[in-house]
């Protein structure tokens, strides 16, 4: 058991994680591409037209997974932040900052596609509904994290400060969500929930789940790719980076 534990901690070092991430990201990228192709095929050609919303509903195949990912990535960021603060590992902070742009991207994508969906369905690009507003605030939290870590020159201090703000944020996200929810709500109820049977056709659900998986794979691949770049940037003075074959060229 202790042997296994040692093996896991081995990858907490940037020097040993760098080649591992290099081996892993192409696989995740490939699986993500295949899943995205399958998911898009289902969502455009297999899933039936919705009898109420027409063809316009198909945007949920992007919109819902993007919203899920934007929320989930924030939790993963906070998880790495907590690990980084507890164990004082350098890689955790790098993971957090590698995830933040992807999370912000998904939050933005979710707002954007939501606006495109809202115009034909609600007749407005934007309404001050609880879930839209909390997604917008989540986007602001991502921007705050990115701005704070970018403003601090010392990367170690930037990581720690970012860790604190993301932990404060993750405590606040439920508070913000419920305060906004009680403030105003108009959004249609969640179409997929864990407690009750989903209120949509099985093919639609499959399309959405496959797209969600594709977004997962994309996020993992891009985070690993970005963390490799961050490792190279921060460790450029070390001997092991100088010995890398890609640095020899």
């Amino acid at each position: 058991m202790s042997q296994r534990l040692v093996n896991w901690f081995k990858f907490a070092s940037p020097a040993s994680f760098y080649p591992l991430a290099g081996k892993m990201w192409p696989w995740f990228a490939a699986i993500g591409t295949v899943l995205a192709a399958a998911g898009l095929w289902i969502s455009f050609f297999v899933a039936p037209t919705d009898f109420q919303q027409g063809e316009g509903y198909r945007i949920i195949f992007i919109h819902v997974p993007a919203s899920w990912m934007s929320m989930f990535i924030y939790c993963v960021m906070a998880f790495w932040a907590a690990i980084g603060i507890t164990f004082n590992t350098r890689l955790s902070g790098m993971m957090s900052s590698a995830l933040a742009p992807t999370g912000a991207l998904f939050a933005f994508l979710s707002l954007w596609t939501g606006a495109l969906w809202g115009k034909p369905m609600w007749g407005a690009w934007w309404v001050w509904d609880a879930r839209l507003t909390s997604e917008l605030i989540l986007f602001f939290l991502y921007i705050g994290y990115i701005a704070l870590t970018a403003a601090i020159d010392d990367p170690r201090r930037a990581d720690k400060a970012g860790a604190i703000i993301s932990l404060v944020g993750v405590v606040n996200v439920p508070i913000i969500y419920f305060s906004v929810k009680w403030w105003n709500t108009l959004h249609q109820g969640a179409s997929v929930s864990l407690t009750k049977a989903p209120s949509m056709a099985a093919t639609m659900l499959w399309g959405m789940l496959i797209m969600a998986l594709a977004f997962w794979m994309y996020s993992i691949a891009i985070a690993l790719y970005r963390v490799r770049a961050i490792i190279l940037e921060r460790e450029r003075h070390t001997a092991w980076v100088a010995e890398l074959p890609e640095m020899q060229r």
Binding site: I85, I137, A147, A151, I164, L167, G169, V171
Partner: protein, 221 residues
């Protein structure tokens, strides 16, 4: 506990010697509130409707303005490092500084709000609720703001960055604070909103000094 009282008295004394900083934030609050009727028009029905929101947003911005000076001066002259080395827990000292900050920036807003509320033709009852909501809400602003102030200590472009970090976290206080007055005016009773504000305050008092201390230790490394 002596150290706590000492630090509150020290910060209040410092604020009393530099009155302009406190007064600037107060006048900022008054000017922002007075701008809204000029921009929107003087219809009393409309003003009465927007009053709670306007007063609360102005209070948020005024609290933000004064956050910069919460730790900056002590950081520059090295007092903060001495505090972190003292036998008293730093979190307690930070709580003292936050309390002093609230007494100099939050409490004046609470006292000034009814006067500004009169400009918006709020009823005496609504003014009372507004005061209570500000009384419960402005300490939350100081507490959450302290985390942001500690994180941006000595960072490039600290002021703007601070607003970017802190304003999203202020949203629950804004919603419940302004909501309390609106609910009362609508005849629904402000009890629920005020209780939630109180809950936010309790959470803030418990967690915020702790998080701000962790952030300060990073800045002092």
């Amino acid at each position: 506990m002596n150290a706590f009282i000492a630090i509150v008295r020290r910060d209040l004394l410092l604020a009393a010697r530099r009155k302009s900083e406190v007064l600037t934030a107060l006048f900022f609050f008054m000017i922002v509130v007075s701008l809204f009727p000029l921009g929107i028009g003087p219809e009393t029905a409309m003003l009465r409707r927007i009053a709670p929101g306007v007063l609360w947003v102005a209070a948020l911005l005024a609290a933000m303005l004064s956050l910069n000076r919460l730790f900056a001066a002590d950081h520059q002259d090295g007092t903060l490092e001495q505090m972190s080395l003292s036998p008293t827990p730093l979190a307690l000292l930070v709580s003292g500084k936050v309390l002093a900050h609230w007494l100099t920036s939050g409490l004046p807003l609470v006292l000034l709000a009814p006067v500004l509320g009169l400009q918006f033709d709020l009823s005496p009852r609504a003014l009372g609720v507004l005061m209570i909501s500000l009384l419960l809400g402005t300490p939350v602003l100081s507490l959450v703001g302290a985390i942001g102030a500690a994180l941006t200590l000595g960072v490039r472009g600290g002021g703007v960055l601070l607003s970017l970090l802190v304003l999203p976290l202020y949203i629950p206080a804004l919603i419940f604070g302004a909501g309390a007055v609106e609910a009362d005016v609508a005849g629904l009773g402000a009890g629920g909103h005020l209780s939630l504000l109180g809950a936010l305050l309790a959470l803030g008092v418990f967690f915020a000094p702790w998080a701000a201390t962790a952030a300060l230790r990073i800045a002092l490394e």
